[in-house]
């Protein structure tokens, strides 16, 4: 249905899309998720050419829409778009907003457009607002009407660009309900959203976007329960990550302790857990690893899960296989053992950092 090859979008000061290659099948309901600034909206806007791609090709139903000779207006008629900011026409009533495009562009009679419009308004529960103006409606009502306006063109594909992001929390539900019903009709849909649970509930395919493209593409189970790649896992588990590197025994301990403090503040980590993180870092690096390693090279990765309010610290270090939790002793070890609930040690393929020690901290 939609095929994208080597899509690239470059702005003067950012390149959200470096190389996107993907095929969207008829009937796919796709959730597009990912951190902000990774080109989710840009991808959607490239598909209906509201943004001109810098490079690459896009086909819709076999027509190459990136071809300069292509009549994009005709393609757009079959491709609805719902915007974050609704964009209802302010100079028209609700029913006119819905009727105008079918009458102007599809050659429908006014009567026909009116009947369809009223039917759609009833489906989104707003038939009584037909003669109101957009500025007389709440955000949730506006967005439901914007969806009805899109449906009035009977599109093959519907693109939804963060449809609930501009809404009050109290109105998110009513719009999501409409989209949920829409997803069951079998229309091809692409929805950019930050509501993970909602995304999971309606879609049959998820694009996780990161690093200038579609970083991971899979079913909701694959992406949300068994993510294959590191960034996906961190994102779906909503992990906040801090990475530190120690490259010799005279490293800047105070500076790193400061970084950890900042990281904890930013992510609103409880003082107790922060204390545990600081302790685990100090005892493990300073007293367990550095004395034991000849040429210490250590990477510390701290991951904090907002959902569980728990933290995991991963230490990767060089040298011969050495599990300091098993083989070490003394006061530092008992301190560390006192603040962890789980530990895991392994040997990795990484030549530089052969050892990997994972500590799950007590909350």
């Amino acid at each position: 249905m939609i095929k994208i090859e080597h899509l690239k979008k470059e702005y003067p000061n950012a390149t959200p899309l470096r190389d996107v290659n993907v095929e969207i099948r008829d009937g796919d309901v796709i959730s597009v998720i990912g951190p902000s600034g990774t080109g989710k909206s840009t991808l959607l806007r490239c598909i209906n050419q509201l943004e001109k791609p810098t490079d690459g090709k896009i086909w819709v139903d076999g027509v190459e829409i990136t071809d300069p000779g292509c009549d994009i207006n005709k393609v757009r008629r079959k491709m609805g778009m719902v915007f974050q900011s609704f964009n209802l026409f302010g100079n028209m009533t609700v029913i006119e907003n819905i009727m105008i495009a079918p009458v102007d562009l599809l050659g429908k009679t006014k009567q026909d457009a009116y009947d369809t419009g009223m039917r759609l308004l009833r489906t989104v529960g707003l038939a009584e607002k037909a003669l109101n103006y957009p500025d007389e409606l709440s955000g949730g009502q506006k967005q439901r009407i914007a969806i009805a306006r899109t449906l009035a063109m009977d599109p093959d594909v519907i693109l939804l660009d963060e449809p609930t992001s501009a809404l009050d929390p109290t109105m998110v539900g009513e719009v999501q309900a409409v989209i949920r019903d829409l997803a069951k009709t079998g229309k091809t849909m692409m929805i950019v959203t930050h509501e993970m649970a909602f995304a999971r509930a309606i879609c049959n395919r998820v694009f996780y976007m990161d690093e200038g493209g579609i970083y991971e593409d899979g079913t909701p189970e694959e992406i949300f329960d068994h993510p294959k790649r590191e960034n996906t896992r961190r994102f779906v588990r909503r992990l906040k990550v801090l990475e530190l590197a120690v490259s010799n025994s005279d490293y800047d301990y105070l500076g790193m302790a400061g970084e950890i403090r900042q990281y904890c503040n930013k992510n609103q980590i409880t003082p107790k857990l922060e204390n545990h993180i600081q302790l685990a870092f100090e005892e493990t690096v300073q007293y367990l690893l550095i004395p034991a390693l000849e040429n210490p090279r250590i990477r510390v990765i701290i991951e904090y899960s907002e959902a569980e309010e728990s933290a995991i610290m991963t230490f990767r270090y060089n040298g011969a296989p050495l599990n300091v939790i098993e083989q070490g002793n003394g006061l530092p070890l008992s301190v560390v053992k006192g603040i962890i609930v789980e530990t895991e040690y392994g040997i990795t393929d990484d030549e530089e950092y052969k050892n990997q020690l994972v500590l799950k901290l007590r909350q």
Binding site: N73, M81, F83, F86, N87, F89, L105, K110, Y114, L131
Partner: protein, 532 residues
């Protein structure tokens, strides 16, 4: 809403009337002058009443009025180097300034003073001590055609003088009997029509009576044309423009009581002098007879003089007509121009935008009156076009640039999301603009548009500079006859207010029409059967 507007319109009218009555009271409540012509008529043979000042020496450090562009300027500097000069655009302004004690004297030609004294008993002049004896002549352009005309005229004048007819004419025009002051009718002529520049506010040399330009100079020029087989068209303009108009070829020669000076001789050719007179200082009478006429007679008299005598209301009517023609055409053409240019620039074409920016910079940076004179004397200098045509071009340009700016502002105020929504539905760029963007942009700027129109009406008051007889110019012409500032000025002010009110009212109707929320349910769903 309609009713509210009407109410506003009428309340505005009431306020204006109040203002008028109040000002009238102010002007006539003070018995500063005597208007009645019968009270004191001064004849050329009569002795001149004694003034506040009796010699030029007494005026040495006083405030002296001078008409802008006249030769008296230099003369005053020469004779009264320490006096403070104040510049005025017309004689009637100076008369009123002198009566109002804003100046101590002003300088003009003796026959003109006598005419003024017939109407104002409070004024006289320093008869024993003229500033200069002067000579008036007709001015011709410095080219072969001008030289040929000049020789023809000189020959005519020599014959005329020899026959004693010139003296007869002087007696006729500088005398009191208006009934004999007539002008012979000039037939079409087989040698083409001569365009003669004048300033018809210089009684008795040239002035407007019964809607026709008459006077001593006009009489002379008419006889010359008849005798030499020319047709004649008198072109009235401000004195500043008279010499320019013959230099640029707008007119064939000038008859405007022009004093011969060495400086002017460098630029134009002068005929033999047709009139020799004296330049004198006009002052207030030593003991002004303060017999005021009373409020009612005063205002009625002013009304009669301003509107009824010689059917002067026709002048005002004609002035309003010209002002309306210029305003309406400029609004229509300017709006079309501004809109057209905006459409060209809308999609950011760099060439169109660059040119537009340059033209806007040029037009908006130039004072309107300068722009009009550049158009009239330079750009259309060698083409025969009327001042009204040039005015319409000039005001269309300025109004067009205002409309362009307004559109830019209004369209810029529309949320970019409106474009995206229309594009996403499959609308073309052009259709998006007309269907969704423009209807939302216009309500933003319609009030400013209304303001621009009012500004335009007021701005048209300067077209007198390029020989258009608009409302303001007609007011000036009447004032040059009645020597009265108050009544004609208030009258044209009122007329301007009425015109502005009328246009504002019309635009308000458009504004109401532009508001989509005023539509009724039936209009929104026209052509749709509603079945529930």
């Amino acid at each position: 809403m309609d009713r509210a507007l009407n109410r506003r319109f009428y309340s505005l009218l009431t306020v204006l009337l109040f203002l008028f009555v109040f000002l009238t009271g102010l002007a006539y409540g003070t018995p500063a002058r005597s208007e009645s012509e019968s009270v004191s008529r001064t004849d050329q043979t009569e002795a001149v009443p004694q003034g506040v000042y009796t010699s030029l020496d007494q005026l040495a450090d006083k405030e002296i009025g001078v008409q802008t562009g006249s030769s008296f300027d230099l003369l005053v500097t020469e004779k009264l180097p320490d006096a403070k000069k104040l510049y005025f655009n017309s004689k009637s302004d100076m008369v009123n300034a002198l009566l109002g004690k804003k100046i101590d004297a002003f300088v003009t030609d003796e026959p003109v003073v006598r005419e003024i004294m017939r109407q104002y008993a409070g004024l006289t002049y320093i008869s024993e001590d003229p500033l200069e004896n002067f000579e008036c002549a007709l001015a011709f352009p410095r080219n072969s055609k001008g030289e040929k005309l000049r020789q023809e005229f000189n020959a005519f004048l020599a014959r005329f003088k020899a026959d004693g007819k010139l003296e007869e004419m002087e007696a006729k025009w500088f005398g009191e009997d208006e009934s004999i002051k007539d002008i012979p009718v000039v037939p079409e002529g087989d040698k083409g029509i001569l365009r003669v520049a004048t300033e018809a506010a210089f009684e008795p040399f040239e002035y407007v009576r019964n809607g026709q330009i008459v006077g001593y100079d006009v009489d002379l020029v008419s006889r010359f044309c008849i005798e030499n087989g020319y047709g004649l068209e008198m072109v009235d303009m401000v004195f500043d423009g008279v010499l320019t108009s013959i230099q640029t070829g707008k007119c064939d020669f000038a008859a405007a009581g022009i004093t011969v000076t060495p400086e002017r001789k460098e630029n134009v050719l002068f005929s033999e002098p047709n009139f020799a007179g004296r330049i004198v200082a006009v002052v207030r009478v030593a003991k002004s007879s303060k017999d005021g006429n009373g409020f009612q007679t005063g205002i009625l008299d002013s009304f009669r003089k301003t509107f009824l005598r010689e059917d002067r209301w026709k002048l005002f009517l004609e002035g309003v007509g010209n002002t309306l023609i210029i305003t309406v055409l400029s609004i229509v053409l300017g709006t079309a121009l501004g809109f057209g240019v905006f459409m060209l620039c809308r999609n950011g074409n760099p060439l169109a935008n660059g040119m537009t920016r340059f033209m806007m910079w040029l037009i908006q940076g130039t004072p309107v009156v300068v722009l009009l004179m550049i158009l009239y004397y330079i750009i259309f200098g060698s083409v025969s076009v009327t001042g009204i045509f040039v005015s319409v071009i000039g005001f269309s340009l300025t109004f067009g640039s205002a409309v362009f700016s307004l559109l830019k502002m209004g369209v810029g105020a529309v949320d970019p999301g409106q474009y995206e929504a229309a594009y996403a539905l499959g609308y073309s760029n052009r259709r998006t603009f007309f269907r969704f963007i423009l209807p939302q942009a216009l309500p933003h700027v319609i009030s400013a548009y209304q303001g621009e129109i009012v500004g335009l009406i007021k701005a048209t008051a300067v077209v007198g500079y390029i020989a258009v007889q608009d409302l303001t110019k007609m007011g000036d012409i009447v004032r040059s006859r009645t020597y009265e500032a108050f009544f004609p000025l208030i009258a044209i002010t009122l007329i301007y207010f009425l015109l502005e009110g009328l246009f504002s009212f019309l635009v308000s109707r458009i504004r109401i029409h532009l508001d989509p929320k005023r539509r009724k349910k039936g209009e929104v769903l026209k052509g749709v059967k509603i079945h529930d």
